[in-house]
């Protein structure tokens, strides 16, 4: 396999607070290959968004990257000087935020915001940048782009605004797009369009996508691989079919059980008892142990490390010392 576009190793993110340091991300590792879509799923507070922000270098004080490393196509980027990191943002890594309604500056024309971004990263003239902006708007599916380019954000619908945001994220042909809950704030009917747009753009440009969402359905539809996060750690990571059909981690099992399917209407949706611990009260051992039906003594003492199981990797003691064939 060639070198991955994004490689995260043992990343740790901490937030200083009045009650001491909180560890939002506690040693996660994953790779994203060229053109691959990695879905990152988990409950709110699991650290999905923080991971995205850490990759693009937008963790603000009191938060900081406390350990590990992030490599973009081999280049280590977690400790770059701010100015160099800025040049990477928008140019080599694009980002899409959750709420298209608030992501655009209301006082600037849509086109000006795109042209501004293009000219920050590419050496283009004003007219060339404008032409490119119109092409981009057309590519993300905005009708009559040469007219809409002079519109203000409030003149666009939510879905159209998210398309503009996507155009902004891809305007300098980045190698990686981080999409942080890109459809959560949108109508259900628009969600599917946006998801397929992101997927298509990733395919057409060979862009890797890190898709952060709490919606397993979106992941199943879009992603090549999926990482299931729980309390700042990766519980399980693997190809999307494997993880959906055959989840290994008890938390992932619960999560998959919580997806409604058209076929399985005879079963009730499974619910995971309890809720995710707050960062200030993460239990000892496996952080999932208080909610886990299979927890045994070791889970309450020792933290499980990721174990490879075929194409998947799972951080659970249930799979330690068990031959791969007999598992699950």
């Amino acid at each position: 396999m060639t070198e991955p576009i994004l490689s995260v190793r043992n990343l740790q993110v901490e937030f200083a607070s009045r009650r001491g340091t909180l560890r939002a991300i506690d040693g996660i590792s994953f790779d994203i290959a060229k053109g691959e879509v990695l879905g990152v799923v988990g409950e709110s507070g699991a650290g999905k968004s923080v991971t995205g922000l850490a990759v693009i270098g937008l963790i603000d004080p009191p938060g900081r990257i406390a350990g590990g490393e992030i490599r973009l196509a081999g280049l280590r980027i977690d400790n770059l000087p701010p100015e160099e990191m800025r040049r990477i943002r928008g140019k080599r890594i694009g980002m899409i935020f959750q709420d298209p309604l608030t992501s655009l500056n209301p006082l600037y024309r849509v086109g000006d915001q795109i042209i501004e971004t293009i000219r920050t990263h590419l050496n283009l003239s004003e007219t060339a940048a404008r032409r490119r902006a119109i092409d981009l708007l057309a590519e993300v599916g905005i009708p009559a782009p040469e007219k809409r380019i002079d519109g203000y954000p409030h003149e666009f619908s939510g879905g159209m605004r998210q398309r503009v945001v996507i155009a902004l994220a891809i305007c300098a042909e980045p190698e990686l797009i981080i999409a942080d809950e890109p459809t959560t704030a949108l109508d259900v009917s628009v969600q599917a369009q946006i998801i397929s747009l992101i997927k298509r753009l990733g395919r057409d440009h060979g862009t890797a996508v890190m898709l952060v969402t709490h919606d397993m359905g979106v992941i199943a539809e879009t992603s090549d691989r999926v990482a299931v996060m729980y309390a700042g750690r990766v519980a399980e990571i693997g190809p999307v079919q494997d993880v959906v059909r055959n989840p290994l981690h008890p938390y992932a099992k619960g999560l998959m059980g919580a997806i409604p399917t058209l076929a399985g209407d005879d079963k009730r949706l499974v619910q995971i008892p309890g809720s995710m611990p707050r960062l200030s009260a993460i239990p000892r051992g496996c952080s999932f142990n208080p909610r886990c039906a299979f927890a045994f003594d070791r889970c309450r003492v020792e933290r499980p490390e990721p174990l490879p199981r075929g194409a998947q990797s799972v951080a659970c003691h249930l799979y330690d010392n068990v031959p791969a064939e007999s598992a699950a």
């Binding site: 943002r89 928008g90 992501s103 990263h121």
Partner: protein, 326 residues
């Protein structure tokens, strides 16, 4: 847009009407105008004659309409103390007050915005904290004390600046200006600072608060994620979004600056409308008080109207919602 402007204009006229009633009531009922004109030992018949000549025996509504009609042509009657038409007195002094108010506003805006932006962007520096402390003191010190302090420092002790008056002024038609002579400019410095200091602290606090709020918004975060330079983010995106409410407020405050110049003019013996008004209050010169109230209200209402309309021009969101509503 037109409907909006029209509605606002109607409101403005309503306010002016209300102020007109107050001014008329002051003029007519607060003390007998006749007593102000005749002496104590004037016989009753002569008093009646004066009363009739002033039209004070007409029905009150008639008097009101007449007063309003006159006021609309800037005829405010004769000052009790100066025995001169009030409008002439006001016109003569208006340039001094307007010049002072404009200089003070410019001073307040420039310094207030600079200090506010700095203390928002470099929140934890010593200088930013100093600005905060200065702003609290600026709000707490009464205007006249600031004036006295400046006079003591720069006029009495150091002798750099004049302590009173406008210095040499140049006549430009009916307007007089101190901006064209050195002594006029020197005379403007301390009164402008005194008058502008309070506005400056207000603007600084507002700019800082707005800027901090804007910097927390999603579109600023997204602008950073797009890799824009810090400069473009701070002074393009953030400042533009900050300045709209700030300029609105500064505009609306211009009326207050004119009213507050009453104090500054008294401290510096500045020959403007404010000092005329204070003298009128001291000597119960009702025609001047009523006229000043009307003039200042007119300035207030006009500025409010202009700012409201300008606001819709500057903010595209508002423009379209109003456009739709209309």
């Amino acid at each position: 847009m037109l409907a909006f402007t029209l509605r606002r204009a109607l409101q403005a006229i309503g306010v002016m009407f209300a102020v007109g009633i107050i001014a008329f009531s002051m003029f007519r009922f607060a003390g007998d105008p006749v007593n102000q004109i005749v002496s104590i030992d004037t016989p009753a018949a002569e008093r009646e004659a004066v009363r009739k000549s002033l039209g004070l025996d007409d029905p009150v509504p008639v008097q009101f309409v007449r007063y309003f009609g006159n006021a609309a042509q800037f005829k405010f009657g004769v000052s009790y103390q100066f025995r001169q038409p009030v409008s002439a007195l006001l016109m003569e002094r208006m340039p001094a007050t307007l010049e002072l108010a404009i200089c003070a506003t410019v001073f307040a805006m420039v310094l207030g915005i600079l200090m506010g932006v700095y203390s928002a962007l470099r929140r934890d520096t010593l200088l930013a904290k100093l600005f905060q402390a200065v702003s609290l003191i600026g709000i707490s010190l009464p205007t006249f004390l600031i004036g006295i302090l400046l006079i003591y420092l720069f006029a009495v002790t150091l002798g750099w600046l004049p302590s009173f008056g406008r210095g040499e002024v140049v006549k430009l038609g009916w307007w007089t200006t101190g901006l064209l002579t050195l002594s006029g400019l020197k005379a403007l410095i301390m009164p402008s600072i005194t008058l502008g200091l309070f506005q400056m602290t207000l603007i600084m606090r507002l700019v800082r608060a707005e800027m901090l709020e804007v910097l927390r918004t999603d579109y600023i975060r997204f602008a950073r994620a797009r890799g824009l330079t810090t400069r473009a983010i701070h002074f393009g995106h953030a400042l533009k979004n900050t300045l709209i409410p700030v300029i609105t407020m500064a505009g609306l405050q211009f009326g207050s600056v004119i009213a507050f110049s009453i104090i500054t003019e008294t401290v510096f013996q500045w020959p403007g409308m404010g000092i005329l008004f204070v003298q009128a209050v001291q000597n119960v010169d009702i025609p001047i008080m009523a006229a000043y109230l009307l003039m200042v209200s007119l300035i207030f209402v006009t500025i409010n109207l202009v700012v409201d309309i300008l606001y819709t021009v500057v903010d595209p969101r508002l423009r379209s919602t109003i456009g739709r509503a209309a």
